[in-house]
C-alpha cells in the first residue's frame, strides 16, 4: 500500500507542473482546485508505478469522489490489498 503523504505529494506535483495552485487542504473540492479527470488518471498511473502493481477500480466509489480526501482515501485503498475493508483514519 502507498501512504497518504506520498499520494498527497503526487497530487500536488500534478497540479504544480501545470502551474496550478497546490496549497489546499484535504477538504478542498476537486472542482475548486482544478483537479480534472485527466489529472486523476495521471495520479492513478503514478500510484500504480509507485506501488508496482495495477490498481483495481470500482465504478461506484469513483463516482463518489468529490474532495482531495476522497481521492487520497480511494488511492490508498486501491493500492492496498483489494480484499481489505476500507481503512479508517
Amino acid at each position: 500500500m502507498i501512504d497518504r503523504t506520498t499520494i498527497l505529494d503526487l497530487m500536488r506535483g500534478i497540479l504544480q507542473r501545470q502551474g496550478k495552485p497546490n496549497d489546499y487542504g484535504e477538504d478542498a473540492l476537486l472542482s475548486d482546485i482544478g483537479f480534472r479527470s485527466l489529472d486523476f488518471s495521471e495520479l492513478a498511473l503514478r500510484v500504480e508505478t509507485a506501488c508496482g502493481k495495477p490498481l483495481s477500480f470500482g465504478a461506484a466509489p469513483l463516482r463518489a469522489i468529490r474532495t482531495v480526501r476522497d481521492v487520497v482515501d480511494f488511492m490508498e485503498r486501491a493500492s492496498g490489498d483489494q480484499t481489505d475493508p476500507p481503512q479508517s483514519r
Binding site: 479527470s37 485527466l38 469513483l62 463516482r63
Partner: protein, 421 residues
C-alpha cells in the same frame, strides 16, 4: 444545391439560437470575403464560430473548409495556403492570402485528414456527398449531441443533419471533455448522441447508470473506431428503447457501413451485394485482407474503388473491421490524435532539439501522453513544468504530455533512424 434550414436550433451555453440568427451574426465578419476568388479556409475560433462558418459556406455555396484552432499548426497553415485557399483566422480575424489563389469550385467543402498516416491531405467533398442522411425519409425530430472535433467527417455528418433536415437540433457543450458533454446532454435533453466507444467507456465509469438513463436517448450512433460487441450490449442494456447504430466511415470513402442490428461487424451478404449502380449504395469488397469501397458518398477527388487500409476478418456470417494494424495514434479518453502533432509543437520550443511522444497506458482514460525529449545544449534550462505549460498554451489539454523523460542524446538505430516508437 441543398437548402439550409435557418430555423433549426443550436443549443449553446448561452441558450438556444436559430441557425439563421447565427448566420446573421456571422455575416459582418465575412463582408468582402465572398467577392474574392478562390476557396476560404476558416480556422480557429470556438465551436460556435466553426458552426457559423460552416453554415455560411452552406448558404452561400462558397468553396471552403473549416478547421478548429488546435489543428491550425504552422504545417497545416502552409498546406492551406499552398492549396490556394485564403486562410481566415476566426480567433484574431487575420486573413492570409495564398501565393497562387485556386479557382473557385462552388459547393466544394474540403476536409483535412488527421495526418496520422502521413502528411495531412485535403479531401474534397460537396454538401451532397457529406449529407448521407439525405435518403432517410421522415426522420423524427431529434436533439443531437456531437462529440466530434470540428471540421472532421463525423462532425459534418451531424452538422449536415442539423443544416438540411427539418426539426433537428444540435446541442454543443462548452468543452470536449466527455463528462462536460454528458452534463450538457442532460441539461438540454439530448435525444441523439453520436460518439466513439471510448467516449462511452469513459462516461460509463464517470456516471451512474441511473444518471445516464435520464438522457431521453432515441438514437445512439457509434463510430470513429472499432466497435465491439461489449459496448453494443452495454448500451443496448442501458437504453433499450434507443435505436443503436454503428457506422464505418472514412474521410475519403464517406459513411459506408451502417449497421442497426446491434451486432458487431456487418453481414457477409453485404460483400456479395451485386449493386451495379454506385449511386445507390456503397459496394464492399475484401482484397488481400483489406476493405475496399466504392461509394456514392466518397470524396470528389477520390473516385472509384478506395482502399480503406483497414484490415477485415470474416467469422461465421459476419465481417469484422479490425482497423489499421500499425498505429501511431494516441487515444486519451476517446480523443484521438497523432503523436506527431504534439512533437511538431514541442520542436518549436527553443530548448527542445528532439522529442518522441507516445501514449502510455493509463487507468480510466486508456492512455495519457508521455514524452522523451533531448534538450538543446547551451539553451536556457527548462523543466517538464515549463514544457507542459508551453504545450497547454498551444494544444488541447488532453494532448499535453504528462510523463517526461529527458535523454542525454537522441536515440538512433544502426541505420541512423530514430528508434521505433
Amino acid at each position: 444545391m441543398i437548402k439550409l434550414i435557418r430555423h433549426n436550433l443550436v443549443n449553446l451555453e448561452t441558450g438556444p439560437r436559430a441557425i439563421g440568427t447565427l448566420l446573421d451574426e456571422f455575416a459582418p465578419r465575412v463582408l468582402g470575403l465572398s467577392s474574392g476568388a478562390g476557396p476560404i479556409a476558416f480556422a480557429g475560433g470556438n465551436v460556435c464560430e466553426l458552426i457559423q462558418a460552416a453554415a455560411w459556406l452552406a448558404e452561400t455555396n462558397h468553396d471552403g473548409l473549416v478547421l478548429p484552432q488546435e489543428r491550425l499548426t504552422t504545417e497545416i497553415h502552409q498546406i492551406l495556403l499552398e492549396s490556394g485557399s485564403r486562410v481566415v483566422n476566426l480567433t484574431d480575424g487575420q486573413v492570409t492570402a495564398p501565393p497562387k489563389p485556386a479557382a473557385m469550385q462552388a459547393g466544394r467543402i474540403s476536409l483535412l485528414t488527421s495526418g496520422t498516416t502521413g502528411t495531412p491531405k485535403l479531401i474534397e467533398h460537396s454538401w451532397s456527398t457529406l449529407f448521407t442522411m439525405a435518403k432517410v425519409r421522415n426522420l423524427r425530430p431529434l436533439n443531437w449531441l456531437s462529440t466530434y472535433q470540428g471540421g472532421t467527417y463525423a462532425w459534418f455528418q451531424i452538422l449536415t443533419t442539423i443544416f438540411f433536415v427539418e426539426h433537428q437540433t444540435l446541442t454543443v457543450a462548452a468543452d470536449r471533455d466527455p463528462a462536460v458533454q454528458i452534463e450538457a446532454a442532460l441539461r438540454h435533453g439530448v435525444t441523439a448522441l453520436s460518439a466513439t466507444p471510448t467516449f462511452w467507456r469513459f462516461v460509463l465509469i464517470q456516471f451512474a447508470p441511473a444518471t445516464l438513463q435520464q438522457l431521453p436517448l432515441q438514437q445512439i450512433t457509434l463510430g470513429g473506431e472499432r466497435i465491439d460487441q461489449e459496448i453494443l450490449d452495454r448500451l443496448k442494456g442501458l437504453f433499450p428503447e434507443a435505436t443503436l447504430t454503428h457506422i464505418y466511415a472514412s474521410t475519403e470513402a464517406g459513411a459506408c457501413v451502417i449497421v442497426r442490428d446491434g451486432k458487431e461487424g456487418f453481414p457477409i451478404a453485404w460483400l456479395h451485394d451485386q449493386v451495379q449502380d454506385a449511386s445507390e449504395r456503397p459496394q464492399l469488397q475484401i482484397r488481400d485482407g483489406l476493405l475496399w469501397i466504392l461509394s456514392p458518398h466518397s470524396a470528389l477527388n477520390r473516385p472509384g474503388w478506395i482502399n480503406t487500409g483497414d484490415s477485415v476478418e470474416i467469422r461465421g456470417d459476419r465481417v469484422f473491421i479490425l482497423g489499421r494494424l500499425e498505429q501511431s495514434i494516441i487515444n486519451v479518453g476517446g480523443m484521438k490524435f497523432a503523436a506527431r502533432d504534439v512533437e511538431q509543437e514541442l520542436l518549436r520550443h527553443p530548448s527542445v532539439v528532439w522529442c518522441r511522444v507516445s501514449g502510455r497506458r493509463a487507468p480510466l482514460v486508456g492512455e495519457v501522453v508521455a514524452c522523451d525529449a533531448v534538450l538543446k545544449p547551451g539553451a536556457p534550462p527548462v523543466t517538464e513544468s515549463d514544457l507542459m505549460q508551453y504545450c497547454a498554451q498551444r494544444i488541447p489539454s488532453h494532448m499535453v504530455p504528462r510523463f517526461w523523460q529527458f535523454l542525454r542524446e537522441i536515440p538512433m538505430t544502426d541505420n541512423l533512424k530514430t528508434t521505433v516508437r
